[in-house]
Symmetry: C2
Subunit: 245 residues, 2 copies
Amino acid sequence: MSRARLTDEDARFIEKYRPDAYPRPAVTVDIAVFTVIDARLVTLLIKRNEAPFRNQWALPGGFVRVGTSRKDQGESVDDAAARELREETGLPLDPTYLEQVAAFGKPMRDPRMRVISVAYFALIRPALGSLIHAGTDASHAQWVHVSDLKKRALAFDHESILSACLTRLRERVDNSNAAFALVGETFTIPELRAVHEVVHSQALDAGNFRRRFMRWREDGIIEEAPGKRITASKPATVYRFSQSR
Amino acid sequence: MSRARLTDEDARFIEKYRPDAYPRPAVTVDIAVFTVIDARLVTLLIKRNEAPFRNQWALPGGFVRVGTSRKDQGESVDDAAARELREETGLPLDPTYLEQVAAFGKPMRDPRMRVISVAYFALIRPALGSLIHAGTDASHAQWVHVSDLKKRALAFDHESILSACLTRLRERVDNSNAAFALVGETFTIPELRAVHEVVHSQALDAGNFRRRFMRWREDGIIEEAPGKRITASKPATVYRFSQSR
DNA sequence: GCTATAAAAGTCGATTTGACACTATAAAGA
DNA sequence: TCTTTATAGTGTCAAATCGACTTTTATAGC
């Protein structure tokens, strides 16, 4: 498919176009960041230090930077999500996994003004997860066990957003390569199984999971890595994800 | 989960808040409307009669109506999609199926200004599909065979949007009840099979599809309806979708 | 009535899945 | 050093599912 061309007429029209004719919404991104800490699925919450919902817990996120001219239209929504993630977590590197979930656009979801939010979910490797908490003020950012979320009241409609992100996460762990972003660069079969178990909060048969794993291996999705993982009992074979870009 | 409450402080803050601090994007909805006409999957395209991309084909859609005050924040994005669908198709009733697909937010996707678009796909029953074309100016709205889309250049990034909507449609036909929105209120097994075939553009084994169908029936998703569908050969049993709201 | 056609029903082997038993290998402790 | 314990890794089996295929049945059209 090739995109339709802009005509001279278009160019003239655009030159004259005054974009202030209609009121516009503010657009934000909100990100459900997941990782696994101590064999439990956790998500990052930020304590707001501004009204509205000051001192309440919310998902990390912020406004999409929109440029000030026709030529400079600012950053993409995806880039805004990646940037906010970097800024709020303080992580130097790109997230292992970042995917858009949906736009949330009910009126009055923000009492200040009309705000439409695009939700993302991000996955962080377990080892990095602990860094975030250490780096920032502990009272400002907090990893919260997903199983404890029911007790929490979140700002805005972030409970709905988080719920949608969780559903999407579970779907991706089952049917795509998302789970590999929740283990280390190298991992054992039981480690990967633990991720699946913790995401679905249900135990999986070790033998059956291994069979499934071996099919991924045959399909070239994962490959054996050198070394063995020393555990309290029999050492486990170590693997790595093949599509490491 | 209960939402966090607004405090008095919030109320005072909101009262003083001036929402014009940062530039905002325009937000639109774009809708891929699908139906089946003459046993082929088609989507509705609209010929733009304004710049940019004047006289080019585009997906139906339009701007989300944002209110002018804190109290009146306008319509929800979902409502905007339903409204645009009504307006552009002229159909009096609600669409049988309308689902958000994703937000498209790259800068420069609209040459006039920064526009973020939320994409939806809608499904229309076959009988109603023909009405639309008849009702509007034929040169203005057109049902296009999905298999012929490669040849068409569409305005904006509507080719990407349409492609994402098609992918989602196929996923929903396979794994949810979307297909029932592409047959009549009552339908036969072969009619429903034709929908699956046309969406995936591949023939399905009649016997195996029937077996799958019968499992849906056992699960109470569909139920037998009175009467028989008269065909050129053996009459077919008629069914209906059970969850008719 | 005969024929063509498609709905409807049935068959069969291959594959997948879930539940479970069994074996192998290391650490830990007596 | 021998035994225990834990868990990685292997194997088995029946049930469910799936794809390809055959057979029966009911109707329209000739």
